[in-house]
Amino acid sequence: MKQYIIKRLLISILVLFGVSILLYGIAHMVPGDYVSNISSGNQNITPEMEQRMREAYGLDKGPVEGYISWLGDAIRGDFGTSFVYKEPVTSIIIKYMPATLALAGISMVLELLLAIPLGILAARRQYSFTDYTIVAIAIVGISLPSFFFAAVLKRVFAIGLGVLPISGMVTARANFTGFALFADMAKHFVLPVTVFVLTSMGSYLRYVRTNMLEVLSADYVRTARAKGLPERKVIAKHAFRNTLIPIVTLFGSMIPALFSGAVITESIFALEGLGNIALKAVYAGDIPYLMGFNMFIAALTLIGTLVSDVLYAVVDPRVRY
């Protein structure tokens, strides 16, 4: 097992290296660099100034030269300074992470808390009224575009009824501290979390339901029932634990999603999270930030897949590495 993990980690380093080349290439292919983006529309900028700025930002070098110098710094842990925010990339990621992580984390926990029991319930009563209802909700959730759903929620609860704030993270006018601040933030999170949960719960729910159905028709479940075990025990101990096997693999893929942020939801609710600023970086041509952030997500994705493979072995005794 240990050997397997070490081997996987070593391969991951190679993969990251390849990913970084691809990302850098793509970042450079985006038309219009940062300097031309900030100077377009400003008639006071002279060509000499533009040239000097390009040199200052290292944009006068070609992609190969640029990549090599980026790689040299990155290996030493220096991901450079963001063009837009004029701060080290790592400190920006750390600064904007809490909002994204809180939003995604809370939503994910709620999603699982809703998706797993509802999925099991639907599977146990397959083709019943309950089953149809739950599946219908799931499909509605999957199909609703988040921007539309968010706009509807905002119109109804914030603008129409006025019970929830329209956007932002805290009430600017009030200087809340302590618990009041926490409660204020929680209130600002209600709508974004609702959007998150309802639009992405569906796929987990369907996943759980399908797996549960498969397990319920398995021989060992019939055996358990034949032994005269109470239905509750059959479901909780024999069926559900086996359903878990495919579900844990989902956990791994959730790790990067925790940090990558939801561009649309964040921007609709004016939450400056990682997703929102990554989008801004794409528009601005902020290569250092894009590289730093995408490499961070790439590393998390690799870690995520490794974690799901390891968890797989943990929950399924048949799997050995």
């Binding site: 600017a172 006018r173 004016a270």
Partner: protein, 712 residues
């Protein structure tokens, strides 16, 4: 199936209801807390002694932020900030909005866009220099007795520090200060030579001590001798140590001549290591850097020079700008070699930056320590920066503000979405913001005048359609194209009252804009066809061709679905098709449009200019202009532009500008399209609208009189 649908409907409504109750509960709890908070707010305001509240309206807004109807915080809604709160390095206009509250500039613009005194004064005087040329000396003075928000006194040194940062060779912000024709500026900016190099090149006998002192020079040469001797000694040691055992004539310890000979240098008998070094210097013709790199036997010359070297590398040969001189603690002069109509703005419309705060660790060519303070600004403006987190900048009133402590104790600058701006004001969450003006917003606001009021001012920029004169070299073709642009219907249907067609490529917010200018190229397809024919195009098989090629024009536009100029292009394409020509409309993402336009790959493009503060158009229409993307140059335009920049007399300048703009129109490279309005809305339930400035213009809004603004 029917049963299922009914059930679904039931379930959905139950879900809705649950959500509602849950939120409703939270809301109640919140407003209670808000009430408590409001009480304490009210106390603070009472302590401040400006209880002005007599608001009896009881709406949900007030519950949220303090049931008593008293407000001590102004909330300004802005679009996402970059968080670069430094007048030196900001890029976004919204960051600058925060900066303008924290920092104070020497002079300011008045509602008409003219420079007037703020906490200082600027005046210009012509002087004859010794060489007979005319110099323009600007005297900048600041009020005495002002302090920064931390209590440190403001002196002219802080102003000079500000200039030096803007002029620094490593400066990469938006200011164009370093490009001004200030006496000695070019020498300062372009001097890349470190001091040691300059001294060593000048030689031992140098007597010109303008850029360095005699002491520095003497010390350098003395230290160089010591270091040089040590450098040579290392070589000698290396040669001796590197000899093969039992060589025929081994070089003895201390035999510099012998060692030098084997290193390739002829020296006299009894030569010292210093002689050896000097011989090397001679061979390299004084190029110490190459000498050190090539000949070294271990240590570099720089290592051996030690401290002297480090100091002299840090310093440059030009460490001062000749034209910027301190007169006394509150006055300085800036000498320009040539006249410049915006020089007063450049030197006096600038924030005073505290040297004691930003200047620690600053040396020429190294702005790292200044940049470190980007997220923690300190200035002398009306408000003091407290924090920036959760998308909100918190500011508190500056008790040391020179014009008196502001009346509103707190300001919060919150990032909001463009689409939410109006709702946020009507909901009472924010107080001031700037949505992009539209007729819908005006209708909405007119219906709720008790909740909000608004102002409309002209945007300091304009939209235009440009033609690349290199790709469309024939003047007649360009004129023909101009006659196909039907601007009025497009602009009036898009903007209504909020935009107007303009006739010359310059924003009418500038005082020099010729208000009496009339339409140059009216919409007239028949005339256009005449021009095309004059250019040599003929109708053949329903196609307009010249030398066998159809007249085809490629135009780039960004986000055409929502662009005000789209109808112009649509009509143009139809008209051209009817004539047998072709207009290829490329809808592009803005970045791509910009790249294609600057790269000269488009015949025609639709864009806009902003940020205009003066009538200098050399960047756009001058033959050497950096933004001359129409690639059209005319020595006559260059000449008149140079003339305009020298013409300080306003009326005279207006005449010249009008003439210049006519010349540009005649060249048919720029079709000015529209001038739009900017909107600002104010919350009528929280702010005391009577305390807003009497006149709001492009150059003057509430932030200029922030210290006298009051809440309810």
């Amino acid at each position: 199936m029917k049963r299922m649908r009914q059930a679904l409907a039931l379930l959905l409504s139950v879900a809705m209801l649950t959500a509602l109750t849950a939120c409703g509960g939270g809301g109640d709890q919140k407003s209670n807390e808000g009430g408590n908070e409001g009480d304490s707010n009210a106390n603070t305001t009472q302590e401040e002694g400006n209880e002005t509240a007599d608001n009896e309206e009881d709406n949900s807004t007030e519950k949220e932020s303090g049931g008593t109807g008293t407000y001590d915080t102004l909330v300004i809604g802005v679009q996402p900030l970059d968080g670069v709160f430094s007048p030196f390095f900001y890029q976004s206009a919204y960051d600058d909005q925060v900066n303008s509250l924290i920092f104070e500039s020497i002079c300011e613009l008045n509602p008409d866009g003219e420079l007037v005194d703020n906490c200082g004064h600027v005046e210009v005087k012509e002087e004859k220099a010794e060489d007979g040329s005319t110099k323009y000396v600007y005297t900048v003075s600041i009020k005495e007795g002002m302090t920064f928000s931390d209590g440190e006194a403001i002196t002219i040194d802080d102003v000079l520090f500000t200039y030096y940062v803007y002029a620094d060779p490593s400066y990469d912000g938006m200011s164009t200060f370093a490009t001004l024709d200030i006496d000695g500026m070019a020498d300062y900016v372009n001097s890349e030579k470190p001091l040691w190099k300059a001294i060593s090149e000048a030689g031992k006998e140098n007597t010109d001590f303008t850029n360095w002192t005699e002491e520095q020079q003497t010390k350098f040469w003395e230290d160089l001798d010591v270091a040089g001797a040590a450098f040579a000694q290392e070589i000698v040691d290396a040669v001796i140590a590197g000899q093969e055992e039992g060589a025929e004539n081994p070089i003895q310890e201390g035999d510099v001549k012998g060692a030098a000979a084997s290193w390739g240098f002829e020296l006299a008998d009894g030569a010292t290591t210093l002689d050896f070094f000097n011989a090397m210097v001679e061979q390299y013709q004084g190029d110490l850097a190459t000498l050190s790199d090539t000949e070294t036997a271990g240590s570099s010359l720089a290592d051996l020079l030690g401290e002297t070297y480090t100091q002299m590398v840090a310093l440059s040969d030009v460490n001062e700008i000749r034209g910027i001189q301190k007169v006394d603690d509150y006055t300085c002069t800036i000498t320009f070699n040539s006249p410049n109509i915006s020089a007063d703005k450049q030197v006096a419309w600038t924030s005073i930056m505290p040297e004691h705060y930003y200047g620690a660790g600053f040396s020429k060519g190294n702005l790292d320590s200044v940049k470190e303070k980007n997220t923690a600004p300190l200035g002398s403006g009306a408000y003091v920066f407290e924090s920036y987190d959760n998308n909100i900048v918190s500011l508190t009133a500056n008790p040391n503000y020179w014009a008196g402590e502001p009346k509103i104790p707190n300001i919060k600058v919150q990032t909001v979405n463009e689409e939410d701006k109006v709702d946020l004001v009507l909901n009472g969450e924010i107080d001031v913001t700037d949505p992009s003006a539209s007729t819908e917003i005006i209708e909405q606001l007119e219906a709720e005048t008790d909740k909000a009021s608004y102002t409309l001012v002209d945007n300091p920029g304009y939209g235009y359609i440009g033609i690349n004169a290199e790709r469309v070299p024939d003047l007649n073709v360009r004129k023909g194209l101009m006659h196909l642009m039907n601007r009025a219907p497009a602009i009036s249907s898009y903007y209504g009252e909020l935009g107007a067609v303009i006739e010359r490529p310059m924003t009418p917010t500038l005082a020099e804009y010729p208000d009496d200018a009339t339409e140059y190229y009216g919409y007239d397809p028949a005339k256009a066809l005449e021009y095309f024919k004059a250019a040599g195009y003929e109708e053949k098989d329903g196609k307009l061709v010249k030398d066998g090629e159809q007249l085809t024009i490629t135009v780039g536009i960004g986000d055409s679905a929502t662009h005000p100029s789209t109808p112009i292009l649509t009509q143009m394409a139809n008209d051209m098709e009817a004539m047998g020509a072709q207009l290829v409309v490329n809808d592009m993402q803005f970045n791509i449009l910009n790249t294609e336009m600057t790269g000269g790959n488009l015949d025609m493009w639709v864009m806009a200019w902003g940020n205009a503060t003066d009538c200098d158009l050399t960047q756009i229409f001058g033959s050497k202009g950096g933004s001359n993307y129409q690639r059209y140059s005319d020595p006559k335009i260059d000449a008149i532009q140079a003339e305009i920049l020298k013409t300080i007399d306003f009326d005279e300048r207006c005449k010249l500008v009008a003439e210049e703009l006519d010349m540009i129109m005649e060249a048919a490279v720029y079709m000015p399209v529209y001038q739009r309005k900017n909107m600002e809305i104010y919350n009528a339930t929280t702010m005391n609208l009577d305390t807003l400035p009497e006149e709001t213009t492009t150059y003057y809004n509430y932030s200029k009189e922030i210290e006298t603004l009051e809440m309810q």
